[in-house]
């Protein structure tokens, strides 16, 4: 409650400070020099500032590069390693023996076709297990490449769904205020008390018998317990927009409540939420991998990073020999999450109210 008030106050202060009052010729001069690009006009000055702050620091640029590389891998997965069998998300198995094979071991059964880059890079005519195999002879390289698609897919679905729920709940609470707001936000509080991973774990294990072992139960579970943060952010943003004059004007001219909310307030309030949400993909992928690591969620052999890592759990005593089961998918996951975190770090600086108005 108080937090929102502070944000709202800052919003008011900022406006009273920034708005040119009286005949401040120096301010006018400073403004007349700056060219306003089309992008800036389209986004508005505040949103444009956020966007520009994002691509300024070296850290965030590294982040963007990392994310871009992963995106390319996901898009060109069939070119990098062609799918084997009918379901491309099923990792091909080279036999059924339990013991992992080392890196560079020959690939005997269920080989994919040889892509164009293979000979040039490895100098070999036949497929080998570039990064070795995990328990059950699942090829780790295949799992990592196609796992990138799984990562983006899960991240995208969960983020879109949680933002939708969060925006609907948060805007209803903020716009109607009073008792409605109070009830909804207490509900949000209760959801936030629950430990996220544990609740996702439980809901997945309840849903799995109903829906079968697939990617669906963990997705639904993560959506059900992941929307509260967005609801809070959008609520506080709407609370500050709600007090603006144009909303009052719309109210006075008799516009319907729902129309004011969706046509006037939301478009002005939603940008920070959207940016934050797009960065949430890293966290979603992390939680999804954690659930697979714990052995619930996707069916065995599904190409996702957490599952390859979970195979390592059975070989803990001899991990010095089978280190590649952990290191390669682990490194992939770390780089993926780090990419999003680096962008997110820049984001936090840009969105920090104390930084507003600077540069």
């Amino acid at each position: 409650m108080t937090e929102d008030k502070i944000i709202a106050d800052q919003e008011v202060n900022r406006e009273s400070m920034e708005a040119p009052s009286g005949d401040n010729f120096m301010l006018e001069e400073a403004h007349s020099d700056r060219k306003i690009t089309r992008l800036e006009r389209w986004l508005g000055p505040e949103n444009y500032r956020i966007l520009r702050g994002l691509v300024k620091t070296p850290a965030s640029i590294i982040g963007f590069i990392l994310v871009f590389i992963f995106l390319m891998v996901a898009i060109f997965a069939p070119v990098i390693i062609p799918p084997v069998g009918r379901d491309p998300y099923k990792m091909p198995r080279d036999g059924f023996s339990g013991e992992p094979k080392p890196m560079g071991a020959e690939w005997k059964r269920n080989k994919p076709e040889i892509p164009f880059w293979y000979k040039a890079v490895t100098g070999k005519d036949k497929w080998v297990h570039i990064l070795g195999t995990a328990q059950g002879q699942y090829d780790i390289f295949y799992g990592i490449i196609w796992g990138t698609r799984t990562a983006f897919k899960t991240g995208f679905i969960v983020v879109v769904a949680t933002v939708l729920i969060g925006v609907i709940v948060g805007s209803i609470a903020a716009y109607y205020g009073g008792l409605t707001d109070n009830i909804i936000m207490r509900f949000v509080d209760i959801f936030m008390t629950l430990p996220y991973i544990m609740m996702a774990l439980i809901l997945t294990s309840v849903l799995t018998p109903v829906l079968g072992k697939s990617i669906l139960p963990p997705l639904i579970a993560m959506i059900s317990f992941g929307w509260m943060g967005y609801a809070r952010i959008i609520r506080s943003d709407i609370l500050s927009i709600k007090e603006r004059d144009f909303v009052l004007a719309a109210k006075v001219s008799g516009v319907k409540n729902s129309r004011i909310l969706f046509k006037h307030i939301l478009p002005n309030a939603i940008f920070p939420t959207l940016v934050l949400a797009s960065l949430g993909i890293g966290d979603v992928v992390l939680s999804f991998a954690a659930l697979s690591f714990l052995g619930i969620g996707t069916q065995e052999g599904y190409a996702d990073w957490g599952q390859i890592l979970s195979f390592a759990r059975n070989w803990i005593t001899s991990l010095d020999r089978y280190w590649y089961i952990v290191v390669w998918p682990g490194l992939t996951l770390v780089l993926f999450v780090m990419g999003w975190n680096l962008i997110g770090d820049a984001m936090r600086d840009v969105l920090d109210p104390r930084m507003r108005g600077k540069s």
């Binding site: 207490r186 209760i190 991973i197 774990l201 439980i202 309840v206 957490g306 390592a312 991990l319």
Partner: protein
């Protein structure tokens, strides 16, 4: 302040009610027969037995009736014996562990508490120390290193970090191992000569004068402690750094410097105590999180706490146990949150005096 505490206390039952309704509500996705597993102690001998349980606990009735029966259980009118009832400590029977859920909690929870207690020490001290160093040497290599450390730390998933330290310290070097204690230690602990005073192994072993067991227990706990600390350090360093930077810019710090105090005194005695305020809340939240069961860390290191129990049950699709665990950790979280809030009110003069 009394007002604040009373308001906070009144909120507890409301939250508990909400949490239990959400958790119980998830069970509605299952059919009555699957739900009946909540109350079955053995494999049901025939369908009639299952029907009886469904009837007894109103499992085919509307939600509020089921919820009430689940909360209070059913009292046998003849013997006066009560069956079920979360309020009476009956969380159902765990199929995957073959024992009542409450017994799992009873044996596992002390282990989780022990891990949490041991983790707090390095987590707080090193995190705060690094954060202060980063702020004092702002923009030098110390600062850059600390920030790098923090970014890498936030990007490391617990289980990847855990598996990596297992490769190094267990598989390669053999210094520290996963699990709770060695077999020989387990035999000693189970022998009648060994008295369990607190159920916390490290403390009990000291009280019994068995330093070898203390050392063995510590060796098993070092890797999870390291993992949990590292994951948390990242946040502590960042928060402590920015809070310290803000404090160092305050007028009273300049005054202290102008008085001619040494830099060490200024930082440690004037700036640090005030810069620590945000850390107090965070520390409280971390401890609360640690007590609620650290599912992934406990699973990676095979540490027998309630988090591991929850993960095992979920992997076996044992809904009863996971639900029981969730209710229990929800309860722990809410109560410890309350304690942290009240403590914070006592510490912070702005809340205390309002």
């Amino acid at each position: 302040m009394t007002n604040y505490i009373i308001r906070r206390l009144l909120l507890v039952p409301v939250i508990l009610f909400g949490v239990s309704v959400i958790i119980m509500g998830m069970l509605q996705l299952l059919g009555p027969i699957e739900r009946s597993a909540l109350y079955v102690k053995d494999f049901p001998k025939n369908d009639r037995q299952v029907d009886g349980i469904i009837k007894k606990y109103a499992l085919d009735r509307p939600f509020h009736e089921q919820y009430w029966r689940w909360l209070t259980g059913v009292k046998d009118p003849v013997t006066g014996h009560r069956e079920g009832g979360v309020l009476y400590g009956d969380f159902g029977y765990s199929r995957s562990a073959s024992q009542p859920v409450i017994d799992i909690i009873r044996t596992r929870f002390p282990n989780t508490v022990e891990l949490a207690l041991w983790t707090v020490v390095p987590m707080l001290s090193i995190g705060i120390w690094l954060g202060i160093k980063a702020a004092v040497y702002q923009n030098t290599w110390v600062d850059q290193l600390a920030r790098m450390f923090s970014i890498v730390g936030t990007s490391f998933p617990t289980f990847v970090f855990g598996l990596l330290v297992l490769i190094l310290f267990y598989a390669k070097l053999g210094w520290f191992m996963p699990g709770k204690m060695s077999d020989w230690a387990n035999q000693v602990v189970r022998s009648p000569q060994f008295v369990n005073y607190t159920k916390l192994l490290t403390i009990d072993s000291l009280l019994n004068g068995r330093f070898d067991i203390f050392w063995d227990a510590l060796r098993h706990m070092i890797l999870p402690i390291l993992t949990l600390s590292y994951i948390n350090w990242a946040t502590y360093v960042r928060v402590m750094r920015s809070s310290m930077l803000e404090t160092l810019r305050m007028d009273y710090v300049t005054t202290a410097r102008a008085k001619g105090l040494t830099e060490g005194v200024v930082i440690n005695q004037h700036a640090r105590p005030n810069a620590m305020l945000p850390i107090v809340t965070m520390a409280g939240m971390s401890v609360v999180g640690l007590l609620g069961g650290v599912i992934i860390t406990e699973t990676v290191f095979n540490y027998p706490g309630i988090g591991k129990a929850t993960a095992d049950a979920a992997a076996n699709l044992d809904v009863v146990t996971t639900i029981g665990m969730a209710i229990f950790s929800g309860f722990i979280l809410i109560i410890s949150n309350l304690i942290v809030d009240v403590m914070y009110a006592v510490i912070d003069p702005r809340v205390r005096l309002s």
